[in-house]
Assembly symmetry: C2
Homo-oligomer: 378 residues x 2
């Protein structure tokens, strides 16, 4: 998508190395970083310079390629896989990309592995963009339908006008959590793919962006990328989503997923589950953009998925830009107080209105997913 009008992907090969947008620096600085080794790729994933389930998969594929240039032996392949797999335990795309890579590379002679791995990583990237475009078309259709089914503006109470400015009563209000935008993928995004298409096709919309503490992927990344594409949006604290829903200011919720189980439980960024509860309590549709690469047919119950716990520092310290233009990090919790930092939660399938995949939309159930992916369902 565009950054100051120039189209970018989040990851690409260039001149023998791999380039990424360093997402830890956004929105205060747009920095392209270079990954030139397996270790650099491992660090980029672990420190969340790249993040988002689909992008983690693509970055892992490139990490494998960089590793094959360093040590293309069977041992080197096994070690690279292990190192990359250990970076983030929850997103299934990581394992998916590494399994796919190992499957292709293992039968090859070592001297062919690096070249093949780079081509494979490039293909995973292209496939991701393609899948997101198709997924986005299905997401767009949902937004269109919900927009069409709304009570016409003139007959609608706009409450105190939250999110509604003069002439904007026709806008569809979409709420999203965390960043399932183009920054979470190679391009287009998953949840945002439908939003971008809607915007391109002229459907009037406005996006409520959950800040998404502690790492503020909503407030930092989703807000930034929507702003760069010129899409109206408003950032809210995570606790405010339910209130907006209760006041009729949200028409539909659309989020991403880091892993969706065979029966449709959704493991996504911490704070997704309470958003789903609020949507259910207010009769608001709750859709999950779930590219097939994020669906794990080997797990049934969301509670079986390992939930990554990250450093408490991400809760107790906040980084931002000072009024003078510098970047500063400040402690926001008293020094003697401990914090815990679970990165994901589980939204049970019963709270999910539908899963939006590149093959279409389905109910979040074993049957629904099996119908859409008969070749993968058990």
């Amino acid at each position: 998508m565009n950054v100051q009008g120039v189209p970018y992907r989040t990851i690409w090969a260039e001149g023998g190395s791999v380039k990424i947008i360093d997402q830890t620096r956004l929105p205060h600085a747009f920095v392209v970083a270079e990954l030139d080794s397996l270790e650099a790729a491992v660090t980029a994933i672990a420190t969340m310079q790249v993040r988002g389930a689909p992008l983690i998969g693509a970055a892992a594929a490139y990490g494998l390629a960089l590793a094959m240039r360093e040590d293309p032996t069977d041992d080197g392949l096994a070690r690279a896989r292990e190192r990359l797999l250990a970076t983030r335990p929850t997103a299934v795309n990581l394992r998916w990309a590494l399994d796919r890579g190992a499957e292709h590379l293992a039968p090859l002679p070592p001297d062919e592995r690096a070249g093949t791995a780079f081509r494979l990583a490039a293909r995973i990237c292209d496939d991701d963009v393609d899948a997101n475009r198709r997924l986005g078309a299905h997401g767009y259709r949902i937004l269109q339908e919900i927009h069409a089914a709304r009570v016409p503006a003139s007959g609608r109470s706009t409450g105190d006008g939250v999110g509604v400015v003069e002439g904007d009563v026709d806008r569809l209000n979409v709420l999203t959590h965390c960043n399932a935008g183009w920054l979470a993928t190679v391009d287009r995004g998953t949840a945002t793919a439908g939003i971008y298409q809607a915007h391109e096709e002229g459907l009037p919309l406005h996006v409520w962006v959950d800040e998404t503490r502690p790492r503020s992927q909503g407030g930092r990344l989703t807000a930034w990328e929507l702003g760069e594409q010129g899409i109206p949006h408003t950032v809210i604290p995570d606790g405010a989503a339910a209130h907006l829903m209760a006041r009729g200011q949200v028409d539909v919720v659309l989020v991403g997923t880091d892993r969706t189980t065979a029966r449709g439980d959704v493991v996504n960024k911490i704070g997704t589950y309470p958003v789903a509860l609020a949507a259910r309590d207010n009769g608001i549709p709750f859709y999950v953009a779930a590219p097939s690469s994020s669906i794990d047919f080997s797990v049934d119950e969301g509670t079986e998925v390992p939930i990554e716990e990250r450093a408490p520092d991400e809760v107790t310290w906040v980084t931002g830009k000072t009024a003078e233009g510098g970047v500063a990090t400040v402690r926001v919790i008293p020094e003697g107080s401990p914090a815990r930092n679970y990165a994901f939660d589980v939204t049970p399938a019963r709270l999910v209105t539908g899963l939006v995949t590149e093959r279409g939309v389905t109910e979040a159930s074993t049957e629904g997913l099996a119908r859409l992916f008969p070749e993968r369902a058990r």
Copy 2:
């Protein structure tokens, strides 16, 4: 309660002026500020140097007293009332304290008003502390009962050990949102009154503290005051409360209220409603500490209560302490992105297990509240 071992109240009269703990400076600095005029009191309430429904009431009473020293005429009384009432629209204690003040002062000759107003404010403070102690005894009883009803530690899965350290499996896990602690009142707190009594009587407990964005009253104030009293606690991002509940790591939720309606709808800090939804979804009791001064029998539906909207800056900028020990304010949202900042939400009575008042515990219903407060119910 204690600050570094020394007992304090949040507001008191001293040497002809009024002293407060400046809560905008906590937890990084403990500063006692002086209010010497009506305008100083108005500013202190509006900028949240003092906050929390009961403390706002006490501060308004002192504001009225300071005003009577400046202009004790009927005009002066009416103007002071108006200025103070406009500071915060949601908490009902403000109106309650001002009504009580005006009722006492209006019949008096002007030259007696200031003295009476100061005595009245002091009485409101003493009454608050007394009410909180009584409320706390009822809250303590609830915590005791829930603790006694727990499966004994040996037969209990501790999951992955969240909030549980060696030898602590017997601890009661209480979750709270925002600050309904002694800092929100004159002393003892409302939700925390039961927690403090439990701690004093040796009931083992641990408190999950919702950070409570955007102003982080949980992360800044509740964590600080629990730490000062030596009560085990852990700060979590607001979005993590539901996840902890789903994992069996929360035994009971206990929060405060800024206004409770005649039928038991609870208007409290933004983000309370999704916590109540998560408690309900996981079969966890959700109690609200509601001193009688916060119950508004003139309103039935929570949706009728005006919800204060505060400056978006409170969402987009964060203040904290740098590693070097200074205080810095940083922008955490992209410059082009707007934010909205609703201060409160409405938790419908149906999600409330019980209201804890100084007269006892009741169900959140018209009948329940009428039984406890027959002289006030309509």
